[in-house]
Symmetry: C2
Subunit: 557 residues, 2 copies
Amino acid sequence: MKRRIVVVGANAAGAKAAAKARRINPRAEISVIDRGSFISYGACGIPYYVSDTVTDVKELMSTPVGVVRDANFFKKVKGVSVKTNTEVTGIDREAKVIRLREGAGAETSLPYDKLILATGSSPFVPKIENVGLKNILTVKSIEDAELLKESALSCSAACIVGGGLIGLETAEALRQKGMQVTLVEMRDQLLPGVLDPEVAAAVEKHVKQQGVTVLTGCAVTGFAGEGTVATVLVGDLEIKADLVVLAPGATPNVQLAREAGLAIGTTGAIAVDQMLRTSDPDIYACGDCCETTHLVTGKKVFVPLGSTANKQGRVAGINAAGGEATFAGIIGTSILKVFSFNAGKTGLTETEARANGFDVETVLSPAPDRAHFFPGAKPIMLKLVADRSTGRILGLQAAGEGAVDKRLDAAAAAITFKATAEQLSQLDLAYAPPYGAAMDNLIVAADIMKNKLSGHARGISAREVKRKLDEEEDFILLDVRSPAEHGEIGIEGAKLIPLGVLREKLEELPRDKEIVTFCKISLRGYEAQKILDAAGFTNVKFMDGGIMAWPYKFRDR
Amino acid sequence: MKRRIVVVGANAAGAKAAAKARRINPRAEISVIDRGSFISYGACGIPYYVSDTVTDVKELMSTPVGVVRDANFFKKVKGVSVKTNTEVTGIDREAKVIRLREGAGAETSLPYDKLILATGSSPFVPKIENVGLKNILTVKSIEDAELLKESALSCSAACIVGGGLIGLETAEALRQKGMQVTLVEMRDQLLPGVLDPEVAAAVEKHVKQQGVTVLTGCAVTGFAGEGTVATVLVGDLEIKADLVVLAPGATPNVQLAREAGLAIGTTGAIAVDQMLRTSDPDIYACGDCCETTHLVTGKKVFVPLGSTANKQGRVAGINAAGGEATFAGIIGTSILKVFSFNAGKTGLTETEARANGFDVETVLSPAPDRAHFFPGAKPIMLKLVADRSTGRILGLQAAGEGAVDKRLDAAAAAITFKATAEQLSQLDLAYAPPYGAAMDNLIVAADIMKNKLSGHARGISAREVKRKLDEEEDFILLDVRSPAEHGEIGIEGAKLIPLGVLREKLEELPRDKEIVTFCKISLRGYEAQKILDAAGFTNVKFMDGGIMAWPYKFRDR
């Protein structure tokens, strides 16, 4: 008898699973059920549709050659039958039958041999006062996007609730439509969970420069308005807004699985093994509705992403069709373009690494993204996180107007294979001046990490320097840049001795005090530390990342 | 007593070695000797100086913050003494002394405890007729670049001898100055040793579109002219040229090492161990003058590159200073920007893999470099090479107007760690529409490789299809694109059945013939293969890379 495979959800994971199952098993009967009317679309492209960067919504639903992936396409090309506007209302695991209802029609049933749950995730909607007012929207589906675009036509002031990836992308989209935009984030930084505070601060600075008002550490407590939202309440603060987008994060759609008695993981998403089997061996789950393993910590995580969904769909499809495939896990790679700024991470942030008990060393390394003499070179900042005891690279964050994505991808591969700082520093990366410096940013960061791990280089964070200054600790903050650089921008209280004359001016420095050196990016700062070490100074450090990583006020001029 | 470290050569490797030695050993006496007058410059930037993309030569010799790295800089900042315009004429290993001559001065000597040879490489100058004529130049040093720029002012027709990285970069530079440019390459493709023929063909096409005349399979036999070159002779062919650039490759500068009796490797470069020690344990070599190990083949190779030189300089500097470091080797990563085209490789090409005895499988996968709906997406072609018996990825080539560098870097990391196609396909790469598709080009290529290795997908190269057509073999070439695509561009002799109606039109295809399917990039071609397989056809393949990888003439319209 033909194997009957039923897939619930026809987006990234579900569509991929169905297509792959067909290729593996040409004889199977494959059905896909989706409650929406649009299927197999690039949900990650929705903010770009909202901003009119993508003008035709069909582009989000097309193959690269322009064929729309609708039910007819799936039938003709993939040999898969798709039912849209159909809700799956229950699973009878005993009888191996699902119950479904098309539109407002009567409940019918569909038997399966193997069931694949690809029910996705939904925007989390906080239960706060008046959250049901008109023009309080989410951005997840194409229907959401259409509504948001239509609503935006008659609105002028938007408030985005949530400073994560979607919140920021939506803030950009609405700003590009000429709206006033305020972004409110409950945590005290943008992109919590994605970036460490000092890297997130760079994103915040850029977003503010583009005219977005950013409020961090502020919880939205409610909304007010006559039928339609007019005000966002943040404690005593009132923000005028005729359009609100809720983007406080995603929550996995697990109701169907839970009601069927399938195991839900500690993350709240459906629990699966490496073959993406749920607690019922005839039911698989893939994509945003299931949890996965973080390959650095070994812990279960819920990180909904289109890239992961596609990989998982392939695995679930193969297994449901009778083949054998596994999905090992993820390392938490994320990336964001917001205006002309790029920021992302792979592996663990410093915050995550510490929370997971690692003995952490970090490097902040700002530098141009290609040979500095090559036109168009743009600055990027790398933050590398390593485990002190093994030298293993735990994570990389990258932010700036330049090419951060390729450093993240190379690091993602290295971290997957448990590379040490030593190994990272010797990667044979593609070099020519239009693509990077002879020593790529990643190699430089790895070299600094090696210097730190071996004790040759001793760093101190900008935050710690700021604290010392604020508490008027007795130490010397030594600027080793040129007088011109020092004159242009500086830190209050710093003493200037350019690196080029440092060897001659050692007597100007007291030997009994702590000295913290810095330059623009701290390569000269490190050089200065080495010169002072060699001259017998015993308490010298450099400030990580130099003045480019100084997130505070500069010296008054 | 202070350790005396002498470095011969003050460019990438030598400068790096001296600086690193100083940091490791603050007490050592460190001297660097260079025969040129410019030191520590970005030699890879020279073509961009020739084209005036980089206008001030000082930019090539500066740190990213604009400090010129001259002898004074090395003395003041690095605590390293540099002698320029000084030739090292010999090494007395017994006495541990080098002989040197500054300019036309008398020979002096300098003792060393540890010696580092960073003598670099020189452009290979073929011994052909009249190669000494005026305006027959090379591009290696800043002096070369100045001469070339000056000569170009009064010239209009340039001939570049050699279609490697430097030859192509120089062709672009001179073309951008408005000159007529002819490039002559002895081998029958551009970039031999760097790219496989079909990938190199894409580079050649682009370069020709930019108005460069390309002659491959043509050996320059001599030159003619009255004092100054006027004609390049290629057998019976005469090419008018008032400027010739010789770029047939680099040769390591090993004379000093050879005369001192140091071991020279099979590649012709100085033999070194992992610590970069030569056959004399007190003498190190690093950079373009020494050979290294290819980490995929395990064989010794000579691949001079600025990125490798910097890494090696660090290792030689540490070891000479009394520390301990190793340089594992390279995987042959190279990249080139020529006009608006990017092309490169990491690991082995198919040609190299076969020559090294691997049982090779390949994938050609063309696709946009970011989400196809995102503005600015540009096509790139990936060629993945794997070992059939282990599934291990041996190499990646990437070419196109889009972002090839990041796919090369991610693959470089994966290949270094001996990733299989399975592992490559599950890398958690950074995904958002501005950076790639939900399934990155690299993931797609790895998935196709898995399908091929498991026997699900069966490819055949465009070359093999062309041969079948030319020899009028009895087979069906099946175009499964849309009628519109088929009408626009096609292959003579192909039959059209769009993928969407293939399931309905199976009776139009004979079951006793070989069928080769194709589409634009061969994802639909693969889909068609699976549909025909499922319908019981037994001899179906798809054409690798689809029509985008067809390097031959298209159907007349």
